[in-house]
């Protein structure tokens, strides 16, 4: 069975598919987010104990950690589409990379913002030039740089290629963020941010965190596809299928 994947790479055929997928992803987002937030607020301990005695504010991790995960993952996805676009010269791949960038930037900002709110009561500071905090901030600038570079160049095809190259160079930050604090010896870990270890997290806390992470992922699909649809319409505005669509009243 030879399924021709390149058929879906045509913006005209992907536009209606994306339109049908968007509501599905919104429903999944809502359900997962409700479960995750309910669990996070009502089924988890009110305070932590042992060597990490945080109070109620530890619940920020239900937003903070999923947002930080998505900020890194969406960058990898964005670079993936940009690289495919560079190699195969497919229009839709570049549009995909373009559509992912703002959602990634929002999650990066959310991770930095919530982390800052959490850092003040627990560490004693809103911000510190710790390796992980610094590299995450640079990742935010990479997203902003990608969006800015793309919109600064008028010729879309040139803008696509230039921004794609910038995105690939920025990929250097993702492993840095991930491994900057997971060094084996804690006394050598010259950082404020803690190491992460999913086996050291109580089951209910972990469950709520994973539910919100899935919800954020579905949210990323929903917003990216919505943005993709408007990018397709803008870029293909001169094509006959878009004109037909508009004359039919916008329904695919």
């Amino acid at each position: 069975m030879a399924l021709n994947w390149f058929r879906f790479a045509a913006p005209a055929s992907f536009y209606p598919i994306a339109g049908r997928l968007v509501p599905v992803f919104w429903v999944l987002t809502a359900v997962l987010l409700l479960v995750g937030l309910y669990w996070g607020f009502f089924e988890t301990p009110d305070r932590l104990g042992g060597s990490n005695p945080q109070k109620e504010y530890y619940r920020i991790i239900f937003i903070h950690v999923p947002a930080a995960w998505m900020s890194m993952w969406l960058y990898v996805v964005m670079v993936g589409w940009a690289a495919i676009g560079l190699v195969f010269n497919t229009r839709l791949s570049f549009m995909m990379a373009n559509a992912v960038a703002p959602t990634g930037a929002i999650f990066t900002f959310l991770a930095l913002w919530t982390g800052s709110f959490w850092g003040r009561p627990s560490w004693g500071t809103y911000w510190d030039w710790d390796p992980r905090l610094t590299t995450e901030l640079i990742l935010f600038f990479m997203y902003i740089g990608y969006i800015a570079l793309h919109s600064a160049i008028d010729d879309t095809r040139r803008a696509d290629r230039a921004a794609a190259l910038l995105a690939i160079v920025g990929l250097v930050m993702v492993p840095l963020i991930f491994w900057s604090i997971n060094c084996p010896d804690p006394s050598q870990c010259a950082a404020l941010h803690q190491r992460s270890n999913l086996t050291q997290i109580e089951g209910n806390i972990l469950f709520a965190m994973l539910m919100v992470a899935l919800a954020f992922w579905m949210y990323s699909f929903a917003t990216t596809l919505m943005r993709l649809r408007s990018i397709i319409l803008t870029r293909e505005a001169e094509n006959t299928w878009v004109r037909d669509l508009v004359s039919k009243g916008g329904r695919p």
């Binding site: 305070r47 990490n52 005695p53 627990s122 004693g124 500071t125 390796p131 900057s180 803690q194």
Partner: protein, 158 residues
């Protein structure tokens, strides 16, 4: 096809180069980042005298005292080899406690006391409710030595 393969190699090389840069930066981060000085380094005069620098280590249990003004605290910071006394006026962060990691920013006085302007607490990766954390700690202690009673374990009561 030729051009596409060329582009593929080009993108592949770019990703490889980026990976190499990442690996180099990581090894640099792990080996020689001067985020703070340890008490041993301070006593060996490796820290810049008269300048603001960071001192990091563990708070020695039982050394925290509060001055009569109610705001100034003194505690010892150790790297299990040397110890420096730190004086700080202000509100301590929530996760500050004896036996835990701390990073302080300030100057070393002529009296050998480190006068901190800022005290930052470190936390760890354990996210457990108090009861579970206590049980784990007690179980660990009884596994390590049968003669150690649970009540004498530091931190078991918090």
């Amino acid at each position: 096809m030729k051009a596409r393969q060329k582009r593929m190699i080009f993108v592949g090389l770019a990703v490889l180069g980026v990976g190499a840069a990442s690996a180099l930066a990581l090894s640099a981060l792990n080996s020689n980042i001067a985020y703070f000085f340890s008490p041993s380094q301070v006593l060996a005069n490796e820290a810049p005298p008269g300048h603001v620098f960071r001192l990091g280590g563990l708070v020695t249990p039982g050394t925290m005292t509060r001055e009569e003004d109610g705001l100034t605290v003194k505690f010892d910071v150790t790297d299990n080899a040397e110890t420096v006394t730190v004086a700080y006026t202000g509100i301590l962060p929530d996760l500050f406690s004896e036996g835990q990691g701390v990073v302080t920013k300030g100057r070393l006085g002529n009296d050998g006391i480190f006068y901190a302007e800022e005290v930052l607490a470190k936390h760890d990766e354990e996210y457990m409710p108090p009861e579970v954390a206590d049980t784990l700690q007690t179980a660990h202690a009884s596994g390590v030595g049968e003669s150690v009673s649970a009540s004498s374990i530091p931190g078991a009561s918090n």
